[in-house]
Symmetry: C2
């Protein structure tokens, strides 16, 4: 822990932790459908931290796909005794130590450790704490991070298991360099925004007409970067990608995403058959746990000009460390709810920088765009200091449920202005889509997912 | 799926799934304490499958450390709709497909996939199904496996994500070779048992006197293989290992276990300081997710004659595949509750055989010895066909709670005779240690963990 000025939040404590199971019936329209997740109901385990000694609340969530959200809720409740009563000044002064206390409780860690339902639960709590910290400082999260000393940011990271790839001293050195010219980059970000790509057109469940219609609407809005789901069958992928290239032409950017459908050799052979569509990357070709498998696929597809991307289901910083060490990925797709919030994400962004791999955060699920933008901004403002070869995922639905929905300028994310990280979901959305007792679920499903 | 005789269990269906949260207050005596789990209450999420059309029940569990067991219980309940009403003949005829339906449900898999709390829940259910199958056949599980056709065993495995290391055809070939001489090996097993080592002496929380006392008692019983926890501090490890070598001498076998305490470089440096105690292996030096880290440690410690072992917290077959591919381990420590029951364990045992790495199952936690012995017997009877360089973990406590507790002959496990896998925990134990309403927990803790 660095010798830094005392934080002003001592005396403010976490009084209560409230959870909500919120589920949107997206499966009715097949929004979000892919090769492995054929009928997702975009959902979340939602956390509100009430404080004593301040009027601020911390709001956080972890994204889920419907069934199983109740498991994450119970996991959050299993962890809450480690949070309630804690002093905010103490937490934020040595946030990396708090991260470890939450993720390494000696009995509970057995059902993780740092992975799966338990880690999603930790992420929801930690996301709410980061939201609270930003609100206490009166700043949007990206600005809080921009104002923190490099040593303070390093104190937020638990370096356990990654010192063979990144030491605390190396992290601080990267962050110090990132301070140079940061105000210029903030001005650029506020003027131009951060480049995005759209996944809204290419869900696997959409038919040909809807696919064309969506692509044309996005092209009309000026979009030039698109991602499409693949993996149901080679023939169907060829049919769909033919439509996509007919609509977007060859100048616009195309990425494809298999959502873990294939084995290692199958990934290589399948992508050889799709190579003439010239995708920039194949995302999640195989198991998110298979570091060596991704490395094999990456080596085989490199001569075809196809890169490998993964990350949205990579369990923790140890998996990312190895993906980087093994040259297994060319794009690093961190997820703001799969990883243990910024405490772990900051470490991954810094490691990716050291290994010269661009970070392109996963987003799209309910709340993920709202959260992920701050990660992309952090990378641009104070780590890589560039947007070159970087794109942030964009999906158009479910933003209306948040107090501070993302703001787009063309196909770029503009930085939010309100204090906080998630800032918060509207109470009327929590009430309406609350599971199982909200009117959407109690009274039989209605096709609308909006307010 | 192979073209095999029809199984006789069609028409028997799963009527109901009952769960129990059972916790033993082992932390009071520091039984089970190690560098990362300082005060475990050995516990389990327990599953009973009631059937329609037979008098048999399937009993299974997954081992936990106390807090968090309720999360696994809710995860089991989230999966139960995939089990209830299913036909046993259909399940066991294509058990690999059933495994996938349970572990890849399109919404629930997001909170795994195949890892953490959700995978522990799958393991409890699948363990109960294997118990049920063995009971329906009227055989102990090891005997059921010995009698199954190689193709039938292969049908129990989901080969997704592992075909680059082991194909179905390779698995069948290994199993066919394993049929040769199997009746001789069964006779040997019944006569001599399967070699074990003891972990009961070396818990980190035991003081010097208790350590000596335990070692002397085990030596008096004829034990020659011991495992000791390390990782609190180098000085303390040296103090404790000095005592251990004073008591057991240099002829008896010593293993040490750090329970994930260290980083990669730290593992190497720490073990260099303990090398003169000549441990056979260092177990779990670092994160269970760190395949490449284990490979680095293994390469560095090889010249010192120290092998690397891990597995009890390795999430799934994909992690084991990579540990084998990367030469990261010299001993493969499968866990019967961490992996998705035999459906996944059979795959790992077969892969380990192909990579010429001996399997030494993890055991010790409540119910784990009862389950793990069948895995060791399977490896001996029909895969590796040897016990050379293989040892099964043994811990002495909590066996009295089971209908078919393990039976030892000296320091060897004798194969059980009753039909089933877990067979079952005594109802009076479930009642007494049920959490939170059993008398042990409701009325304030009592130091005894036995009946």
């Amino acid at each position: 822990m660095a010798d830094l000025p005392v934080l002003p939040h001592f005396g403010i404590t976490i009084k209560q932790l409230v959870t909500h199971d919120v589920r949107f019936p997206t499966s009715q329209l097949l929004d979000g459908s892919d090769a492995m997740h054929t009928d997702p109901d975009y959902s979340c385990a939602y956390v509100v931290l009430e404080t004593q000694g301040s009027t601020c609340e911390g709001h956080g969530l972890t994204f889920t796909l419907g069934k199983g959200t109740e498991v994450v809720i119970v996991a959050i409740q299993a962890l809450q005794h480690l949070v309630i009563g804690q002093d905010c000044g103490k937490i934020f002064s040595n946030f990396g130590q708090f991260y470890r206390s939450l993720t390494s409780e000696s009995q509970i860690r057995w059902i993780g450790p740092e992975k799966g339902a338990l880690h999603l639960a930790s992420a929801a709590i930690l996301n709410a704490l980061w939201d609270l910290w930003a609100k206490l400082e009166g700043k949007p999260l990206w600005r809080l991070l921009a104002d923190l000393e490099p040593e303070r940011i390093a104190d937020c990271i638990d370096f356990r298991y990654i010192t063979d790839a990144l030491t605390r001293a190396e992290a601080i050195e990267i962050l110090r360099k990132g301070k140079i010219g940061i105000e210029n980059r903030i001005a650029l970000l506020q003027e131009n925004g951060y480049p995005a790509y759209s996944t809204s057109c290419g869900w696997l469940g959409y038919d040909s007409d809807l696919l064309r219609q969506k692509l044309r609407a996005f092209i009309a809005e000026g979009w030039t970067r698109f991602k499409v789901k693949v993996g149901s069958s080679v023939e169907d992928d060829i049919r769909r990608l033919t439509i996509v290239r007919e609509e977007i032409g060859w100048e616009r950017l195309l990425m494809v995403d298999a959502n873990q459908k294939w084995d290692v050799q199958e990934s290589i052979e399948w992508m050889q058959k799709l190579a003439h569509f010239k995708p920039l990357w194949i995302e999640e070709p195989t198991s998110p746990d298979d570091v060596l498998g991704h490395a094999t696929i990456a080596a085989a597809l490199k001569p075809l000009g196809i890169a490998v991307a993964t990350g949205e289901q990579c369990a923790n910083r140890v998996i990312f460390k190895q993906l980087l060490q093994a040259n297994a990925i060319s794009y690093c797709q961190i997820d703001t709810c799969r990883l243990g919030s910024l405490n772990e994400i900051l470490a991954v962004i810094l490691m990716a920088h050291k290994f010269k791999i661009p970070v392109c955060p996963h987003a799209g699920g309910v709340g993920l765009c709202e959260l992920a933008q701050h990660m992309a901004f952090f990378d641009f403002l104070q780590v890589s200091c560039t947007t070159e070869n970087r794109v942030l995922e964009y999906v158009e639905h479910l933003h209306e449920h948040f107090f501070e929905p993302i703001r787009m300028k063309g196909q770029s994310y503009l930085p939010p202005a309100q204090p906080g990280y998630l800032v918060g979901m509207r109470p009327e959305s929590i009430a309406r889509f609350g599971f199982p007792n909200g009117p959407t679920w109690r009274g039989g499903l209605k096709p609308s997912t909006g307010l």
